[in-house]
Amino acid sequence: MKKSNVAMLIVFLALIPLTLFWGDKLPGKGYYITGVLIIAELSIPFFMMFERRKPQARELVVLAIMCALAVIGRVVIPIPHFKAAFAIIMLTGIAFGPESGFIVGAITAFASNFFYGQGAYMPWQMMAYGAGGMLAGFVFIKNKIPRKPWIMAIFGFLANVFWIGPLLDTSHIFIMMPEISFATITASLASGFPVNVSQGICTALMMFIFGKPLLEKLDRVKQKYGMLEDENGI
């Protein structure tokens, strides 16, 4: 069995149940700590997979560029509240597959926290951004769904409203809400809904206009230099 598979089994069968068991005994707002720990544990197998593959220099540099683009996207497009990050992360997932999508998403969230100031919601951001990139990679895997601009735009909108947005909103339950109950969960998700829709529209627009050119550029680099495909390609 591969090491990362063993790690995944250990995480799901032992670490997470133990964290939930002990976390339940913590006083006060201990569930914040439990939440952070579980997100960290969930991401261990993904990061291990990336490390074990020993990514080559070319791959690392391209992924780093995508992360940096996602972080500075809001500086380049001078429209307030227009976030380009989600679209760039999802396009990376579409171009390079689910694993790269997850890594770029998580690292983008992490790096932008160093850049714009640390927040308590950072673990949730890493999880949601990473999950968004991964989902895009899975949906568009092996060209089964055509990479047409309008298909990607619809996907971007839906992914933002029903996947990334709600995942981000769960952070409010853990950080701002006094307890975890049905009422607080619905309140958090409902309060986040308008923001998610507006960000979904941004992402859809971005995917529609920018999706095809970016994918063409990435595919060209991928083809020309054989990146992220064979082991010896460097």
Partner: protein
């Protein structure tokens, strides 16, 4: 800029301090302990950020009030009913609990703000670089590329405006969007082209041929060990008192807050002492500086 004395300690010691401070800030719901946490984090935040800190702290007041008032709406437990609306009670206990939740929130923001100032990217990579070499290399590259891409973006925007394709404040959203997309597109091509040079250069210098080593600026000195051990001892004492119920506070359905007196005072003083370590270090530094200045 004035150098913060606590930041000069080893990153591991800094990280240990913040883990302890945030965890206990979240776990202890006792009002006096929360107040101690807000006081200590506020003072340290102020010493790190100077005048800018006042604005951040003022911005937190409306947030504090909102969370406090919001809690009784979702939380109807509690025995003292203040008033009822839509057949739902608004209770005093829930309101008081809301204050505790809001205080925890503010405290967390302040501690994490300090954390961001103290544990910068290089320190983080020093701590975890050996654990995940590829990921930390990726992170280093991102840190480096953000400013370099920003500079490139400014160049592109400058060139575009000099050929009459610039955008202004009053340009329509459509124009702004189109222009932004073009800039991002050009930026991507430019950066990807550069990436090939970077990776070829990395390859020719032997990337991937041997285990990567990293350069460490930070070494554990005697002072670092001393601070680490003292922190662990203080944390142990706090855990001991907390486990024995000396810091318990319940709000719902009835208020039941353990008073701080007798033996429990020790626990409180130890907790406050732990939180004030960075501030004490800074004060010590200022005094030392003034003494050595007066000798000249």
């Amino acid at each position: 800029m004035k150098q913060d004395a606590f930041s000069k300690l080893h990153p591991a010691v800094n990280l240990l301090f913040f883990i302890g401070a945030v965890c206990f800030g979240v776990l202890l719901q006792h009002p006096i302990y929360l107040l101690a946490g807000i006081f200590a984090s506020g003072v340290y935040y102020f010493s790190l950020n100077g005048r800018k800190a006042i604005k951040t702290i003022l911005l937190m007041i409306p947030l504090f009030i909102f969370i406090t008032l919001f809690n009784p709406i979702v939380n109807t437990r509690g025995v003292t009913v203040l008033f009822t609306y839509l057949d739902r009670p608004y209770t005093l206990e829930a309101l008081v609990y809301g204050i505790a939740v809001a205080a925890t929130f503010v405290l967390m923001i302040l501690w994490l703000g300090c954390y961001g100032k103290v544990l910068t990217g290089d320190k983080f990579i020093c701590l975890f670089g050996n654990l995940a070499p590829s990921l930390s290399l990726l992170l280093v590259m991102v840190f480096r590329m953000i400013p370099s891409l920003l500079q490139k973006a400014k160049q592109i925007i400058g060139v575009r405006s000099s050929i009459g394709k610039g955008i202004e404040e009053k340009s329509s959203i459509k124009n702004k969007l189109n222009s932004g997309m073009t800039v991002i597109g050009v930026l991507t091509s430019w950066a990807l082209e550069g990436s090939i040079t970077t990776s070829d250069s990395m390859r020719s210098r032997g990337y991937g041929t041997a285990k990567r080593t990293s350069f460490m600026v930070y070494k554990m000195t005697k002072t670092d060990w001393l601070f680490g051990v003292v922190m662990l001892i203080l944390l142990g004492i706090v855990i001991f008192f907390a486990a024995n119920g000396g810091m318990n506070a319940e709000f719902l359905p009835e208020r039941n807050i353990t008073p701080i007196k007798g033996i429990n005072t020790i626990g409180f003083i130890v907790y406050l002492g732990y939180l004030l370590i960075p501030t004490i270090l800074n004060i010590k530094e200022v005094i030392q500086w003034n003494i050595s200045k007066s000798k000249i």
